[in-house]
């Protein structure tokens, strides 16, 4: 059973999900009640989720390593500790559904369907990267898999995702849009404006908050007057649900339910996944704002390790299978890194290729030292 709490829109936000943990509790303790859920699942599916979570884990570890080796530049925000949320959310989407995310986007890009090779090549700034080296870590985008971008400005993706849902609605399509965001985003104006439009216009969109309880270094209860983030749609008559984001099955189930409701009802929904990042905000953040207890607690509640443990106890994950998955994930990540290493850097002659989609007269193609007018 997922530990969910619901805030019904239009009225006072109250728990309807039975047993509900306090806010503090959601960051503590292993996902509960999942052992029985595991028994109801197809073993192949469970192993697949485990493999996907492990792929994000190993991919991000490799990314962090490459970053410290200066193979990757810029900012680099990893999904470490949020693997169950990533996999659970992406499992809820159909191929035709659209995704907008924030800057912590590598795992989402991979599990929306982009090849780890091309994600890694983008991190390396190479031509085979998903955005040909123009986007980098924060800006994964792929038209084909409908991953419509990671965005580096907090909340920047919210109005756009809402507008994408407007386009779907305008055309009478049955796709939905998922807009992933962090806890800090729920305090910016774009959040409120987007929810208002989505509810007014009955748009098919799920706002998926990954609440890792830390907006960079500031705790949620220091930044949000209503720290139960799933309730924050109630002012707009948008129903919200909270789920334990370290429990892949719980996330999958809650997200799937909301995605299908958004699709059938043509309404927006909010899903809050309580999560916890194992490391700092970005690769270079030592997370000194956390106490040793908090860090130790996070490590002891590692969602990948917890799921592994559950599957082992349930007899789904044998030692052989575990090794087989570990090896194949290791190979896949090594292959992605090799691919990125061997992909060429973009040619400088392409510098002016992506300023405008419709060619335009007098577009400046001046290099820094060039004169404005040739004699």
């Amino acid at each position: 059973m997922a530990d969910t709490a619901k805030a019904k829109g239009g009225g006072s936000a109250k728990s309807t999900g039975g047993r509900r943990r306090s806010r503090k509790d959601t960051t503590q303790g292993a996902p509960s009640g999942t052992t029985s859920a595991v028994a109801d699942e197809k073993p192949d599916a469970l192993l697949d989720y485990y493999r996907r979570m492990l792929l994000v884990r190993r991919f991000e570890e490799r990314t962090g390593q490459a970053y410290t080796q200066a193979r990757i530049g810029g900012y680099c925000h990893l999904n470490l500790g949020e693997e169950a949320t990533v996999v659970g959310l992406m499992e809820s989407l159909q191929e035709r559904d659209y995704l907008y995310t924030n800057y912590r986007d590598h795992g989402y890009a991979i599990h929306k369907g982009m090849s780890p090779r091309r994600v890694m090549a983008e991190l390396y700034g190479r031509t085979d990267g998903v955005a040909k080296g123009w986007g980098g870590s924060m800006h994964m985008y792929d038209t084909e898999t409908r991953m419509l971008g990671g965005y580096g400005i907090v909340g920047g993706q919210m109005p756009m995702a809402t507008g994408a849902a407007l386009a779907v609605s305008y055309r009478g399509g049955d796709e939905i849009v998922m807009c992933q965001l962090g806890d800090g985003t729920t305090n910016i104006g774009a959040w409120h404006e987007s929810l208002n439009l989505a509810s007014l216009w009955n748009l098919p969109i799920v706002y998926a908050i990954v609440n890792n309880f830390t907006g960079m270094g500031t705790a949620v209860d220091k930044s949000s007057a209503e720290p139960d983030l799933y309730k924050r749609g109630s002012a707009f008559r948008i129903e919200g649900v909270r789920v334990d984001g370290r429990d892949v099955l719980a996330v999958r189930d809650a997200a799937t339910e909301l995605v299908e409701k958004a699709r059938s009802e043509q309404r927006p929904y909010i899903l809050e996944c309580t999560s916890y990042r194992l490391k700092g905000h970005s690769v270079v953040d030592p997370a000194k704002y956390r106490t040793e207890e908090q860090t130790a607690e996070a490590r002891s509640n590692d969602p990948v390790a917890a799921f592994e443990d559950q599957l082992e106890k349930a007899g789904v994950l044998t030692e052989d299978k575990k090794k087989e998955i570990a090896d194949s994930v290791k190979d896949e990540v090594a292959d992605a890194a090799d691919f990125a290493e061997n992909s060429p850097s973009p040619d400088v002659s392409t510098l002016f290729d992506y300023t405008y989609a419709t060619p335009v007269a007098n577009e400046s193609r001046r290099m820094p030292a060039d004169p404005v007018f040739a004699e």
Binding site: G163, E193, A361, F373
Partner: protein, 332 residues
């Protein structure tokens, strides 16, 4: 050939583009039931319905950003931002997103949207409602910023903007809405964004402007022609991309230049034009480039103060005459 207002030209073109392409939709405050604060969208809701003509709440960041997202999925939203002053609420969506999505994702998706927004002082609206901040947008690669000065141009440029695959900010001007001009009947011309126009040929001096100041410049040139002063007028039309070459070619011919702009002097569009002339026509210059611009104050409400702060035909005329005197050309 019909003589219609700038407002009517915009309205007719918008309606034609709506009728032509199902993907064109309108978004903005008060554009439907109210028929637009400046009546550009008059009749649109009745003709096209609520699906295609969408009144928005007062939330510029939300609806401008929604237009960006809708454009990424292939709609061609035309957003009305009631005045350019309010566009600042949406500046993240315009500069960080609309302008960047195409490049940042390696050309995979474009943002075919138009932001129509009026600017301009002279209406006694006070400091926050009288600004010409098009420069903020013209500064940014990835955006196209156009500023038509006549009804015919307004029609041709709006048509171009709607059909363009990039985000285009179309600057209207409160002072031009009622101005009239000839627009050929059944005209379907599409302006080429990024091209300036020589709207009057002359040999003594080049007068450069855009939007209301391009219109005023033409008026000044006509008046000065009566005094045997031959003024060439360049209407910039497009602030990004900027057609420097047309300006430079004209100054190479006339030997001197005055830039008239409805924005603040320091760092303004005229600064860019003056710099371009310096780089492209230094050896041809007989006098320093003069700039006529708004006084550098938050625009006051009181009419005499506001009038004094704004550039006008008179202030342009003075600058032209002083420049010509400086080079020893006979002025009337």
């Amino acid at each position: 050939m019909s003589v219609i207002t700038y407002r009517q030209a915009l309205r007719d073109t918008l309606r034609d583009e709506m009728a032509r392409d199902e993907n064109v939709m309108l978004l903005g405050e008060e554009i439907g039931l109210f028929e637009g604060s400046y009546k550009i969208t008059e009749g649109m809701l009745k003709e096209f319905g609520e699906r295609r003509v969408r009144d928005t709440p007062i939330s510029e960041e939300g609806f401008v950003g929604a237009a960006v997202g809708a454009a990424m999925l292939g709609l061609r939203p035309v957003v009305e931002v009631m005045t350019i002053n309010f566009s600042m609420i949406a500046i993240d969506q315009i500069i960080n997103h609309a302008a960047k999505v195409y490049g940042m994702f390696g050309g995979q998706t474009s943002v075919p949207m138009v932001i129509r927004t009026p600017g301009g002082g002279g209406q006694q609206l006070g400091a926050t409602h009288s600004q010409n901040i098009e420069l903020f947008y013209a500064f940014v690669p990835g955006l196209k910023v156009i500023a038509p000065s006549s009804p015919a141009d307004a029609a041709a440029m709006l048509r171009a903007a709607v059909r363009d695959d990039d985000p285009v900010l179309l600057l209207e001007n409160l002072g031009l809405y009622n101005s009239k001009g000839e627009v050929p009947d059944g005209d379907e011309s599409v302006a080429e964004i990024g091209r300036a126009a020589v709207t009057r040929e002359g040999s003594d001096i080049t007068l450069i402007g855009y939007s209301r100041m391009a219109s005023a410049s033409l008026q000044v040139a006509e008046q000065l022609a009566e005094q045997d002063i031959s003024v060439e007028v360049v209407d910039l039309r497009s602030l990004r991309p900027l057609d420097r070459q047309t300006v430079v070619d004209s100054v190479r011919k006339t030997g001197c230049a005055v830039m008239a702009e409805d924005d603040w002097l320091t760092y303004g569009i005229g600064a860019e034009i003056a710099a371009s002339i310096q780089e492209g026509a230094f050896d041809y210059l007989d006098a320093p480039v003069r700039r006529v611009a708004m006084a550098e104050v938050p625009l006051p409400y009181a009419k005499p103060l506001e009038t004094a702060a704004l550039p006008s035909a008179e202030s342009i005329t003075t600058a032209v005459k002083e420049t010509l005197s400086a080079v020893g050309k006979r002025v009337g």
